[in-house]
Symmetry: C2
Subunit: 509 residues, 2 copies
Amino acid sequence: MLAIRTTMKQSQPRFFVSLKVSYSTFKPAAPLSIKDINPQTVQAKYAVRGKIPIIADELRDLIKKNPQSHGLPFSKIINANIGNPQQLDQRPLTWYRQVLSILQYPALAEAVDYPQDVKDRAAVILENIGSIGAYSHSQGAPYIRESIAKFIEKRDGGYAANPNNIFLTSGASSAVSYLLQILSSDENSGFLIPIPQYPLYTATIALNNAIPIGYFLDEANHWSTNPEQIRQIILENKQKGVNIKALVVINPGNPTGSILSEQDIIELIDIAAEHGIVLIADEVYQENVFKGKFLSMKKVLYELLEQEPEVYKNVQLASLHSTSKGVSGECGQRGGYMELVGFSTEVKDIVFKLASINLCSVVSGQALMELMINPPQEGDPSYELYNAETSSIHNDLEIRADMLYRAFLQMEDIQCNKPTGAMYIFPTLDFSPEKYHKLFMRAEQSDLQPDDIYCIELLESTGICCVPGNGFGQVPGTFHLRTTFLPPGQEWIDRWLTFHETFVKKYTS
Amino acid sequence: MLAIRTTMKQSQPRFFVSLKVSYSTFKPAAPLSIKDINPQTVQAKYAVRGKIPIIADELRDLIKKNPQSHGLPFSKIINANIGNPQQLDQRPLTWYRQVLSILQYPALAEAVDYPQDVKDRAAVILENIGSIGAYSHSQGAPYIRESIAKFIEKRDGGYAANPNNIFLTSGASSAVSYLLQILSSDENSGFLIPIPQYPLYTATIALNNAIPIGYFLDEANHWSTNPEQIRQIILENKQKGVNIKALVVINPGNPTGSILSEQDIIELIDIAAEHGIVLIADEVYQENVFKGKFLSMKKVLYELLEQEPEVYKNVQLASLHSTSKGVSGECGQRGGYMELVGFSTEVKDIVFKLASINLCSVVSGQALMELMINPPQEGDPSYELYNAETSSIHNDLEIRADMLYRAFLQMEDIQCNKPTGAMYIFPTLDFSPEKYHKLFMRAEQSDLQPDDIYCIELLESTGICCVPGNGFGQVPGTFHLRTTFLPPGQEWIDRWLTFHETFVKKYTS
């Protein structure tokens, strides 16, 4: 046996604890306080599951423990703070779940009366990726990446996608985490993010000790982008020594629910090409479009590349997709992917290493991605049901968006764009300090924003949980809230209408 | 409609790209090189999926593309580089997969002939957590955390566990990531890690720009810990200004396959108590024990607390578990948890926030954790099969460990401790520079270590992929390799024996 070459001598044997002998002679050290830990982790904020959702959880517990005597004016919490369709009434698609059940228990294929295409697809996936209980390739199973490449190619009118540029991720969140971590080269690294934004971005920027640089979406023009403003912001920040690494684009918009035009996208690509800024295209709501048409940034980039390859050849684009949104709403299954275009091999190798350190994304989520982008086709046994279920979900979402939108139009001092995509409405609380003097006084006294107070009182009066606009960013002096339009029915909306009337009276009289 | 209060003017409309009008007037910027990205992400190393496994992937692709004409002296790759049982021949447990199939497709319960306890358990889980397609509570579904708390209490002889201290994670890897990120308060933060260690730790320490401080496990004493050495290292590092934040303990050991004694554990807890150092107990192999007995650090800590509460009351312990190892081997399902003991509420709130930013761990993996820690009991319809399957896997692992161990004993200049736990053997390549002069010359010329050369030639001659000891850390001047003992049969071992003989001849003659 080889002796370890260390000069340390072995410690003397000591009594086992079971002998109950006291032997400690030191003074114990104090436990960690918040001052001892990573300040970036302290600073990061994530409003979607922040202060108000935490109060909602406490109220839910109270109701659960005292169903008859909780003393609240409502009997359940409505989580409109997060796009989580299956927590509400959305049922999973039969096609997904039947195939996934076979992947979990392959012997089932022989034991149950599923449509033949369900069994066939499960067999093909199992043959190509093996057990979903094994780690896959760090980047995701090659078979599924090939399938995603074909989906992208078809979606983008034939422009090729390379499976080696595709990384399966845990939802889109872990893709954002990889990208921002890699791009944060030092504390001068800046990230352009839309205001309002999805707070995952500001949180992850804070965790990486980088600089968030907001560009305002134009609420008066359906939350479109303003390229001149972005160029000016880049100039100002470059002068201040900020090294702008990436431009985040959320399309369809979260929290705005709006869809970018082709012209908007071209302008953003131009900015990226000119300044060598990576484009991060968060396109997880690409299936949630009610009006207008979703155009992927990749497709527009490839059109530009075809016309002027010398101008656009260096553009670096990361586009993100997920199984959590769309008509799937399979949030808990944590499926997602990102496609990297234009990145050097050496940089992609670093992304690969980060993915390897995490071993792999959940393999059932990878399989779900394959089922989402490669659904049954007309003539397949599962097609009719699949089509009926997805159409019904899509229609339901559109109807619910419209119902809530109409309610906001009725509310005094609420302004609202008609939602055209995603799962959210981001109405303005048009509360002027003059008319809502009492509200602003209360805000000042309580160290809260007027939109915080609105959301807290809404929750405490109705059980409806949504998120104040300040969690997403808003033009200074304006106030908003973000709500999903996922909850079913008119009843919750009626409660909201009543609450709003009372709120306006309370703070204006 | 409220106008956004920004002074920026709107950009002028411009031509759509479909009009094929050239309008770009700027010089395109260069793409990112490795110099532009986060240096920590460049520096991090992860050998388990590093250089040699990447060569193995290339060889596998070569075989797949040219099954008849690949020109290699073997026809398949044996991945002994990673504990991934289901990639080899291990079959998933029927109990897990039947319940999970119902969770994926609840209507199945009525349509298939599963044992009643499978249906009952699925019903209870669905009733308590709802659809596995919904995001759960950020920390994990409360029902499953309560179940884990009961498991810990039972395992640890009655010492209580609090569900609010339990976080469901994506395998144990994401727990390590949260902990090291939070504890890395600045660039003087140090982490004590065993040498050899599982390279997730050095990789994550590098990503957080913290300092890895190795303490040597004593190979001559079954890889036990040496508390005096650790105390001396702490002293030396404190004098250098290093702020030591945590002590990582991997028990049962990876890559060593050894189990810590109660005495070892007590000494480590003493060190933590005296110096206010967080204990990170990586106990993912707690079910993989062939000889001796696994004692959780939590149990030993609670025994000490009972005797001397004043001494141990501030000890902070994070213990990690996973569904990937044990007899489950469900690596791809990404289930795991960590229990935090002794942490202040303010610090736990930060962990909660990080978990919230990631939304939640995969919900099917959470359910799998519940199935693992709460299996069928004697008398339940699924018990007999469950018991037969788990016993068979456990016995197989023990037999395979023994077969491989005996092979190493036969090999010239290989030294090896008998494995008592986990899934790995970490034998010494006892190659002296004198006897293996040619090997050391070759190493010097090629910028490789002798253990790199051994592993590369093993792979290229036999298709067996394992990891050189330098990826885990080893006492300077010693050389090792880590291999799992998971692959079945004697044939691969015989190939290894033949290779070894040739290798020794080649480099000593």
